[in-house]
């Protein structure tokens, strides 16, 4: 099935960080069944760093591999660093994606970003409540 790189296949076969985080600090959801892919990212933040990232994904092989690599790329990063994980970086890290699957790498970056937004939002609210 060499429409996918070996790296994509490896992550599809052995996805890292599948699952949910109980009481996550942030959650990011993207996609919908019409476009064919849905991703939920869960993050745990400590000292402005992503201590843990988990995901659940409904989608094609590329979507699963993207989720896996994004989670791997994100763990241990500061929030700012994590924000710099672009679709292109994700695709490069996977040694390329077929043209019609590039949008998947976009979704992965977006889901992570949404989770970070969610964390910051919550924090702001908590700050306001304090």
């Amino acid at each position: 099935m060499p429409i996918y790189s070996e790296k994509v296949m490896e992550h599809f076969m052995h996805p890292r960080n599948v699952g949910e985080i109980e009481n996550p600090d942030g959650v990011g959801n993207v996609g919908n069944p019409v476009c064919g892919d849905m991703m939920s990212f869960y993050i745990k933040v400590k000292d402005n760093r992503l201590e843990d990232v988990k995901f659940k994904t409904f989608g094609c092989g590329a979507a699963i591999a993207v989720s896996s690599i994004v989670s791997e790329m994100a763990i241990g990063r500061t929030l700012d660093e994590a924000r710099n994980i672009t679709a292109q970086l994700v695709a490069d890290e996977l040694e390329g994606l077929p043209k019609n699957k590039f949008h998947c790498s976009n979704l992965g970056a977006e889901a992570l970003n949404n989770a970070i937004d969610d964390y910051l939002e919550k924090k702001k609210k908590q700050g306001g409540e304090e």
């Binding site: 099935m1 599809f12 076969m13 996805p15 599948v18 949910e20 959801n29 919908n32 069944p33 019409v34 476009c35 064919g36 892919d37 849905m38 991703m39 939920s40 659940k56 994904t57 409904f58 989608g59 094609c60 092989g61 979507a63 699963i64 019609n100």
Partner: protein, 398 residues
Amino acid sequence: MRQVYLDNAATTPLLPEIADEMMPYLGKYFANPSCLHDWGDAPREAMENARLQVANLIGARSEEIIFTGSGTESNNFAIKGLAMARQAKGKHVVVSAIEHFSVLHSAKTLEKWGFEVTLVPVDGQGLVDPDAVRQSLRPDTVLVSIMHANSEVGTIQPIAEIARITRENNVLFHTDAVATAGTIPVDVTGLGVDALSLAASQFYGPKGAGALWLKKGVRIMPLLDGGVQEGGRRAGTEDVPAIVGLGKAAQLAAGSLTDRLNRLTSLRDRLLAELPAKIEHVIVTGVALPAQHRLPGHASFCVEFIEGESMLMLLNIQGVAVASGSACTSRALKASHVLIAMGLSHELAQGSILFTLGIDNNHEDVDYVLEVMPPAVDRLRQMSPLYAKFTRTGKGGG
């Protein structure tokens, strides 16, 4: 590892005896069949023999067979050519919502050329209601095209009933029989149609050879203009080896249709019955058991909470070749227009998976699928946010 090819709707293997039949025309009988000298004789005669073989398969006369390069070309030729030849009479065309893209997109092209197109809906099993066709007809309707069977959900349409309606209304009727010709009995008189498309690569013949059957006297505008080949209706140097292969495939199919049918049906029925029994939240798409109005080798499902391509990939790793969505366009990303037209949600439609059996398959192949499929589904569901939601809330199931 066991290798199980279950993607016969995408294309069937070429039978070795058909390939053998083609060989002389890839060798010493290479000449152009239009040539007047002796070199043209063998290819010309072989081509005319193939024409007769194809005609015999569908109960037609050989002069009514026009060779084309594919099912897609036959459909484009029929839809555009029949409509354009009648535009003085009217500019309205009727097709079903679940036609193959070669019909649907040809109809779209007709729209660009000033035609109006009505899409006839289907029910939850993918069946066209003949009455809906009747109601779609207008005084300016010049062509109806409803496929004989759909290759995504296997549903066989009531063509003869629809043909009665088009005949009563003096409207031309084309049927896309690419999924049926050579697989189930196809008789143009019994069906009562005016034009019919077929393709060799769907019944163990070669790629590069299709045919359009056109009832004697029916006018058509050529799609390929040029020389006088095929009576001036389809120009271009004929692909003799492929045409010979199509003929041989037609002859073999005609001779073993019942055998093949029985064999495939028994395997199919096991899949239709046992897969949903083994895996929770799996629905049959198209006609469920007892499945008379279903292609014999065709078992299609939607697996809830997960997506088709990833299932396909996991099965591929286990040596099993299947399709998801439309077999021929697995690379298109959108949910199958067929399943959506049948009323399935996008979520469910994304989980489509399609097993199409061929004459080389056996019960061990089915056993193997039944063994490797459940863990694959399970694994993907463990990753799925939709499944998580369902197990949490009991909601989202179909």
